[in-house]
């Protein structure tokens, strides 16, 4: 139980949110990638978050959580878009290509949400740093 622990918590949140920003960037970059083979097409990826249990603290009956981590990254199972485009170099024998199932609007919303969460973590860190500095200066003035 100390203010220092907050840095770990906020730091883990920042790491998790930056992973989310990374997947979003990857999704947006691959939004238009296409392939003639449906199994090889890029599928939208999303990180799944999980709260990290702090076993040491749980033993002492303190707050039993210590931040957040990325449990896994899942691929979207949404249907791919099939497009008839025989001039495409990747087109299959029927002239079809499959385009990735990235939803650009969804990804933009994800990006905003991730950056807001990141910002609030930064804010928490800054505030806690100020509190710590003030506590260190206790009784000086």
């Amino acid at each position: 139980m100390s203010l220092n622990k907050v840095f770990g918590i906020a730091g883990s949140a920042m790491a998790a949110q930056s992973t989310r920003l990374n997947t979003t960037a990857s999704n947006l970059a691959n939004a238009d990638s296409a392939s003639g083979d449906a199994s090889k097409v890029y599928r939208a990826r999303q990180p799944v978050f999980q709260s990290v249990p702090d076993f040491g603290a749980a033993l002492n009956n303190e707050s039993a959580n210590f931040g957040v981590r990325v449990r896994s990254i899942v691929e979207s199972q949404a249907p791919l878009t099939q497009r008839y485009q025989p001039e495409h170099p990747e087109a299959d024998e029927n002239g079809n290509v499959y385009v990735s199932n990235v939803n650009t609007v969804e990804e933009m919303v994800n990006m905003l949400s991730a950056s807001r969460s990141y910002q609030s973590s930064v804010e928490i860190m800054t505030t806690t740093r100020d509190l710590l500095a003030q506590t260190l200066r206790m009784g000086e003035s």
Partner: protein, 133 residues
């Protein structure tokens, strides 16, 4: 003579620190599916700390009873409770970022207020020791 010149502010600082950690954890898990936001009832925790009722110890009524050690700072064992969400979400997460941020701001203000009381008290005591010079 007052034994504890800082009154309850030292306890308040400790509780505020603990609450700060919980609220930071809530905000860190704002996007975690199934996470339940938690908080301390500060008023109840403070009252428990004042009366010493926050730390239940077994009574020793016989000389041969072994006293149980509190193990932690006396009276600083606040009950952590789950927050009741205003708008529950489908993924089971009960963190409402705005509520948490408001609580965080309030908690930080409370911490700084306690810190200021302690600082002023120290200044007053120093003044008294130096005889006003």
């Amino acid at each position: 003579m007052d034994i504890d010149p800082f009154g309850n502010h030292a306890k308040a600082l400790s509780l505020r620190t603990q609450r700060n950690e919980l609220l930071a954890n809530n905000l860190a898990n704002a996007d975690t599916p199934g996470y339940k936001a938690r908080d301390i009832d500060f008023r109840a925790a403070m009252r428990a700390a004042e009366t010493g009722g926050g730390n239940l110890r077994m009574a020793t009524t016989d000389a041969q009873h072994i006293p149980t050690s509190p193990g932690r700072a006396p009276g600083l064992d606040p009950a952590v409770a789950y927050r009741i969400p205003l708008q529950p979400s489908v993924d089971g997460n009960t963190v409402e970022a705005d509520v948490e941020q408001a609580n965080y701001a309030e908690n930080v203000m409370g911490y700084q207020a306690s810190l200021m009381f302690i600082n002023r008290k120290i200044r007053g005591l120093t003044l008294a020791i130096r005889g006003g010079s």
